[in-house]
């Protein structure tokens, strides 16, 4: 099982994740921060389960995130 965990509060709205994985990430036009599409809010984190083929682009998003608030976790 693979999931993305996103600490949205600390997002600086740079758009890097959207460039890497546009199917999963979108810039909110409301508050200028990134939003993890179809994720579930758990406390201050946003969580979403993904499949193996979706892993690579999200790992890139995590790597390029300057705020280091995207984690791709494998169980």
């Amino acid at each position: 099982m693979i999931r993305i965990v996103f600490q949205r509060r600390k997002c600086i709205g740079c758009n890097a994740c959207v460039e890497q994985a546009p199917a999963h990430w979108v810039m909110s036009q409301k508050d200028g921060k990134s939003y993890l599409r179809k994720s579930v809010k758990k406390g201050e984190y946003y969580v979403k389960h993904i499949s193996a083929p979706e892993c690579e682009e999200n790992l890139r998003a995590a790597r390029y995130c300057p705020a280091r608030i995207i984690r791709v976790q494998t169980f």
Binding site: I12, M27, K30, G32, P66
Partner: protein
């Protein structure tokens, strides 16, 4: 006007503009007698990641604190702005106007334009890199105050100020455009902060407030065969901090109206000492008592708080090469967190604290910092544990009390001050 200030007319009262990265620092600025503070909210400011930023919801409280203390409040909104930031930018600017924030410090034209639309005065950020009178005239259509580029010399600043008066350059308010310069704090190696080092190495743009401070690190130089070159100072890109207190009379003689102190990521102790020293120095220039003796005393105080060593910046036309030789601060004092405030017994002026780390003994010097308290320094004259006097408190979790001239609150943190 005293003799040391040269031939130019001094402005009536120069404004000391202090950084406020937190409510603690905001209070410290008030206590120090600063005339104005600047601060950022949400992610659209140049300290988006490094400092504890305020939120839009805090704007009202900041404006109220400002009004109560005759402190002007300037909102920094000076990053690069993308399309997806526009709604947030507009909401911040609009809310700032509604709350009575005094001005927005902006660089992007979208911000400048929208602030003009809603009637929030604009201060042009140093990020716009204004270095000549024509640029001042261009931006004067939108901005009542221009922060000049940090790379100008004092004579260039003076000439711009002179021409503002001579050419009668007025801002939207109808008053002559005011000129602001940096007086104290960190300088960076890039022109007007436009640096891409951090973006190249960490994909973290300094121009979106996410600077990773590559320039502050030590570097080695190695050729492609692995031979290391010896260099005198490994901190090859890290300038020392700007300090103008030793020639502040010459800075004021240029005709600038506002002196900015850098440091929204720094603590309330730094904000208090820097704002207080520059406020006192500006007053003493006006009353004619400014001189080497006082400068020496201010320098000692400034050296106590966060600094990388000092130099004159570019103001005196010196060549580059004032690089620091330390990775972090060269402050002469270290402040270590040891506990939290609990309560205050006002009648007997005693504060109660909980020890959370380290130890404390009679005779130690401490600092209390909090969002309402601001900062206060004191020496421990007496310690009490379970109502009995003790020489020291060492047990973690111990609740102890000691005399305190200022009110202690549960939001306060206690720090032990030690020489480095």
């Amino acid at each position: 006007m005293n003799g040391a200030t040269g031939h130019m007319q001094l402005p009536n009262r120069v404004e000391i503009l202090a950084p406020a990265g937190s409510f603690e620092s905001l209070r410290a600025a008030v206590q120090a007698g600063a005339d104005a503070v600047y601060f950022g909210v949400e992610q659209l400011n140049m300290r988006a990641r490094s400092s504890n930023n305020f939120t839009v919801a805090d704007l009202k409280k900041i404006a109220v604190i400002g009004r109560k203390n005759s402190l002007k409040t300037y909102l920094t909104l000076n990053t690069i702005v993308y399309n997806h930031d526009l709604a947030l930018m507009k909401s911040i600017v609009r809310t700032a106007k509604e709350c009575g924030i005094n001005a927005v410090i902006a660089m992007d034209h979208a911000v400048i334009g929208y602030a003009a639309e809603v009637g929030l005065p604009v201060h042009l950020s140093t990020q716009a890199n204004v270095t000549n009178i024509e640029a001042v005239k261009f931006y004067a259509r939108f901005a009542d105050l221009i922060v000049l580029s940090r790379e100008l010399t004092l004579s260039q600043v003076a000439e711009i100020c002179r021409q503002v008066a001579e050419q009668d350059v007025r801002g939207p308010s109808g008053d002559l455009v005011r000129i602001e310069v940096f007086a104290h704090g960190a300088l960076c190696m890039a022109v007007s902060g436009k640096c891409y080092l951090s973006l190249h190495t960490h994909n973290a743009s300094a121009n979106r407030g996410a600077c990773k401070q590559n320039c502050r690190r030590a570097y080695t130089v190695r050729d492609d065969e692995g031979n290391e070159l010896k260099i005198d100072n490994e901190f090859i890109m890290s300038p020392k901090d700007l300090c103008t207190i030793g020639f502040l009379d010459r800075v004021l003689a240029t005709g600038v109206s506002v002196l900015k102190i850098e440091g929204r990521s720094k603590g309330p102790d730094y904000v208090y000492e820097t704002a207080a020293c520059y406020r006192e120095a500006a007053e003493s220039i006006h009353d004619g008592s400014y001189g080497p003796e006082k400068v020496g005393a201010w320098m000692q105080r400034l050296e106590k708080v966060y600094n990388r060593g000092f130099w004159d910046g570019y103001y005196l036309g010196c060549e580059l090469g004032e690089w620091t030789d330390a990775p972090g601060s060269k402050a002469t004092e270290r402040k270590t967190f040891i506990g939290l405030g609990l309560n205050y017994l006002g009648k007997i002026k005693v504060g109660e604290f909980k020890l959370q780390a380290g130890s404390l003994k009679v005779g130690d010097e401490v600092m209390v910092a909090g969002p309402t308290t601001g900062v206060a320094r004191m020496r421990v004259t007496e310690l009490r544990l379970d109502d009995s006097p003790v020489e020291a408190v060492e047990r973690r979790g111990a609740c102890f009390s000691m005399p305190s001239p200022v009110k202690i609150r549960s939001s306060d943190k206690l720090f032990k001050i030690e020489p480095v």
